[in-house]
Symmetry: D2
Subunit: 322 residues, 4 copies
């Protein structure tokens, strides 16, 4: 075993690929057959539809993809199929989510073998973690790969927040290329955006919160990673275009429309977390005829009965469903 | 891929092996070389010493073993070496810690192949989880193996608590054989102990909290899983013996001695979580000449300088070190 | 004692005064003498300056006013002096913060006697509270007064969040006139704004987060309650004006300027909570010559030494101080 | 106004009265009439019964007394009636619960006027608080009164924990006379007990957790403040006596009996916090004929219907009710 501990140093590397990451980069849901296997034809339809709707990239094996529920073999399969289907039309970002550094590096190797354009890693989790561990972690990941490295800042899952100061330090030194902010902390995001601009914008900043993208754009975000775009990416594509053109009224209108559609995730009753959120995306996609089933991976319950009807009701209210 | 979703049913199985689990079952630290590899000679010395001190079993690949920091290959090596060294002298329990059901099942397979006596699994983590997911999870794990299954109740890491009601339901149906309670919720543990006794004691109940084992014994616990026993298991072995003999004053005296030694984990400054706790165990073991280095796995810092001296000071105060 | 329990019914009342609450309504800091008493001359200068800068109202006895630190006598004095100084130039909203319903009603009586224009109450705190208690609480407060009642949604202090559904239910029935959202949950705020609009805008919605007011305006907020405006309200007044005129680029520019000034609250080291935040506001006001001292109420430490210099440094960087 | 800020110094005072506080000191529930007023005859019966059952003191105006729900006038009345009824038979400890220092001091004055034997104060709450504030707070309270001061360590209500180090520092300097530990952190309690003993036992240590008093006694606690004792104090009195006599089997048996009775607080459905816990105590007392009604203060719901029956069922199961 090569020593990984030795890798925790502060060398800086070139991140010239960074600039291509911007705009709308949905985290892709993973369509499953009823017995929990990957449904490749549905996956093909879903990805083709997203690219047709004009997205700027695709993020595979994030929380929305049920990454934490899949074993390594399934993760590899999902990523390889995405790579094959996308076929270079847009950049492919791969989640490399796992508890701690050495486990994440294994996923980075898998992603490199498949040929992705960037990797996205969370702060370490499960064990209680201080700022030293978080910094060591991202430095070790960066040392382990030539791929652009994005921070996936998601305290609701990993129970720590990557501070603005650490994010900027890692950005200025070229350790990370950007972040997907799913922290639900818009105050921190604004501070990060200001600090990033003051430092010459070393980081590409993405928000993961579907209903407040306009606020993130006001902050100067480079893009958005909206799970809701699986259901319909057109609002987000239009919103991003309007943002680039300075048409803020359009940004706001598109955001309001997307926020109304987002009510599908609050519609199900008696379910929580991805079983509700990703479950609603899958249920909507099934109702829209894009994917075959709304099956969720064990141990999550799959939305059924009244909960399917509640999602359908929202879709009808906003005109997505007749 | 065989459908795992189909496994989430409520079949009950026989758990007749359960009764052999009781007493002092330390979670074994994993000695490392300075470059982060497994230090097999130190591991041999540590395990032999624990068995010589009279422990009733060994728990490998729990939090104290740095399980979340190791990749699968390392996990397999640690477990296989433990199996080889123990050589049937005491039962071997294996942690199968991972985010969600399908990933945990992969670790169960590895543990089965190596030949362990029981597996220990946490509630699912990373994704937000409700009671349905927790119940489905343990049922699916039980369906996947004939080994006794223990619940590792550790909210500080997985951010959910397994309720007394669910624990008892799974116990009465034979889904789980017992639990290691690291919930720091002694009120809940008392309620669990009472409910378990009322139900005919289907569960073997272990506490994971080193300094309140006497209270757990007053509650009727079957045993203890003390990380501190790596440094010295004699207090715990004596405490358990006194408990079985009804010698409560001895229980209390031994507990006080162990609690004084436990101050090593509060001694280090500027470090948190396992870097402090497991770090203190390893540092003490190194100072006592049991293992070669106190190296921790990336991204954790290894205790050094004044922090080593702070641990040594506690060891001298309680007479472990001259 | 009149029975208050009997008051917990669902009667609706008219809230026609609501419409006058909009725009920039700063929560006013309470200037103190070095021995902790109210510094009336400084208070006069501060309030006059805020009104001169064009604010639309003033919120007294909120968290920024150190309300939780004052005894009832001091609270009465602060409110009465504010009433006297404002002298009808802008509306006066009074915080009636206390643990539970009957205590809050006492503060409402005091506020009524002094003659305020609206009262602002948090969800109940200290005791563990469910949704039933929160709903009963606001209904009882509304029954107890003819004044418009605002919800102060501040989970960081009261450790519960008022849900969108409850907020809308109370709004539609006329129980509450609006809310000050200090929940740091912009997703929830967007949902509230959409639901409020769909219901005919029964609620006046204010954000309490100084650096993301532009996002709140994109959501359709009616105004802002910015603690930072104590130091300088001109950015917020200009931002609100630009918002009403649809000049989003101006909104964004003003917001960025305000966000840069807000760095004063992150500048102090070794202090937390209002000792840092309100302490920074007071220190800045003292440096700007508006108030005499930056004294904080016991048990908070007052910013001193390097921490004063850190605040001054930010003020100089943004051009507030020469 | 006298300057309180000036009081925050470190003077030590004599706490020779401390030694009389030990044993079973129940936090007394406050019986109410159906319209929410104090029910004096029921209060008399309840207090007389507790003293007859052999308690060593009474704690009035703690969480169990619904202190946070009463206005100051009601608080004064409850305390004065308790003083009158107790009539010197046992020591009277008064809760002086409020958000911050100056407000707590007002309650201390009221308690002094009524003539209590000790005051019990929490760490400051509502505002975000660091260790400096907590230390300043207790020092200022001590400076303000000659009465013995107890720390009420209750993170579930005030959302901070008083650290072992601070508790010992304040104890060694005579600032505090002891603590009621309702922190649900038995590990910390053990560490506190050991540190206290090593320092010559300056603190009187009480646990507030009804079902793990035996563990607290193993740690060396001086007594217990059990809300459940309102329903029946005999188990706790017997447990404390057995503890003093070293009869640990009796301690354990009495604890198990008390723990079974404690299930009344987990029996109600659809209610949380004191509405469930204190509500269950009151409901049991009403069923046992000790108090007239089980009315809870607004905004809490009073237990009714099936929830009353669920409490009765537990009472019958353990033989308290025929």
């Amino acid at each position: 075993m090569t020593s990984i501990n030795a890798l925790v140093t502060t060398t800086t590397k070139d991140n010239t690929m960074t600039m291509k990451f911007h705009g709308v980069i949905p985290p892709v849901v993973t369509p499953l057959t009823t017995d929990g296997d990957l449904d490749v034809p549905s996956y093909q339809k879903l990805i083709d539809r997203l690219i047709d709707q004009g997205v700027d990239g695709l993020f595979v094996l994030g929380s929305t993809s049920e990454v934490a529920f899949f074993d390594d073999e399934m993760r590899g399969r999902v990523l390889a199929e995405a790579k094959r289907i996308i076929d270079g039309r847009v950049p492919l970002l791969a989640g490399v989510i796992d508890t701690e550094t050495l486990r994440v590096i294994r996923h980075i190797r898998q992603a490199e073998d498949i040929g992705v354009d960037a990797v996205v890693a969370t702060a370490p989790f499960y064990a209680i973690t201080g700022p030293t561990e978080i910094e060591n972690h991202f430095r070790a990941l960066h040392e382990a790969t030539a791929l652009p490295l994005f921070v996936y800042d998601i305290p609701v899952c990993v129970h720590v927040k990557v501070s603005v100061d650490l994010m900027m330090k890692l950005g200025r030194e070229g350790v990370i290329a950007g972040c997907k902010d799913s922290s639900a902390d818009d105050v921190s995001f604004r501070r990060l955006a200001l600090a990033n601009r003051a430092a010459g914008s070393p980081l590409a900043l993405f928000t993961g919160h579907e209903v407040v993208v306009d606020g993130a754009f006001m902050s100067g975000a480079d893009g958005v990673v909206p799970g809701l775009a699986n259901v319909d990416a057109t609002n987000y594509v239009a919103m991003y275009k309007a943002y680039r053109e300075g048409d803020w009224e359009r940004v706001r209108t598109e955001q309001d429309k997307a926020a109304e559609l987002m009510e599908i995730v609050f519609a199900p009753q008696g379910v929580v977390g991805p079983a509700a959120g990703v479950g609603a995306f899958k249920t909507a996609l099934q109702l829209l005829g894009v994917i075959e089933t709304n099956t969720m991976t064990v141990p999550m319950p799959t939305l059924a009965g009244d909960n399917v009807e509640r999602v359908a009701e929202v879709l009808r209210r906003v005109g997505e469903l007749a």
